[in-house]
Symmetry: C2
Subunit: 133 residues, 2 copies
DNA sequence: ACCGTACTCAAGTGAACGCTTGACTATTCC
DNA sequence: GGAATAGTCAAGCGTTCACTTGAGTACGGT
């Protein structure tokens, strides 16, 4: 657990692997949805889940290994909560790629608009590398 | 390919499975990073990749099956490009959960601040379900 | 016509995943 | 103390994943 946190800090790439992998399972996403409404115990998370408690625990461990979830044990129940910061780091990766494409497409659009009613000036203008997307 | 697109429209949950699964591989993320800079051919995507072209193609097919990438073949080269909209749908799922937690934590914070210098009124106030996060 | 490039397909392989069962350990409640 | 609750550990099992190799197809250049 602590080791994962350390690895995640040292190697954000590896962390993204784990985060997206954790998000790829519909059951785990449902657990996260539940946790977004507030902390919950392991069995509480598994209640709507049609699988053994052991399986639920394994999912929780994967979520925890990714940093998306933290948990602490009080008495005999383990209470899990969602870590918004980890969620944000995944969001950021996606957002960066997305804005990159969108900006590029905007430039391409302008370029096309500019050259539409103008003869070729020989100026390369903004990059329009391959096919017009 | 078309079938995937259809499934994705009909079942957005299944789509999220595929999208996050596709994002979970570091090689595929690198391909997406490359594609965010502009369209590229299959072999171009595989160039920095230390694996067979067949393997690269399989990755491209997974990306395409998730809707993150589209491609069309001209002559003998297949040109791939990134689909910002699919990227956005993954981003949205994450963002919604995140804002949900953050808002809840904000309310909790206010609640704690309010009750800090006030005696217990018996009023339940905003939900503070379990442990103080 | 021929060669090299750029994919494409199919089968196989080892590792990782998702889950189960069975046993075992705290805690809590009566 | 004894039963029920909540979690934990380990082994096993079928499936899916990320490749590989070895083939074949279709262009494109000369």
């Amino acid at each position: 657990m602590l080791k994962h946190v350390l690895n995640n800090v040292l190697d954000p790439e590896l962390n993204l692997d784990r985060i997206f992998r954790a998000l790829a399972d519909p059951g785990r996403r449902r657990m996260l949805e539940r946790l977004s409404e507030g902390p919950a115990s392991v069995s509480e998370l598994g209640k709507p889940m049609a699988m053994s408690l052991a399986a639920v625990l394994q999912h929780v461990q994967i979520l925890e290994g990714s940093g998306l979830v933290q948990s602490r044990k009080l008495g005999r129940t383990r209470t899990c909560s969602l870590n918004a910061q980890t969620l944000r780091s995944a969001e950021r990766w996606i957002s960066e790629r997305r804005t990159f494409v969108e900006r590029r497409l905007d430039r391409l659009g302008e370029y096309l608009a500019d050259t539409a009613d103008q003869p070729d000036t020989g100026d390369a203008g903004p990059a329009a590398p391959h096919a017009p997307a």
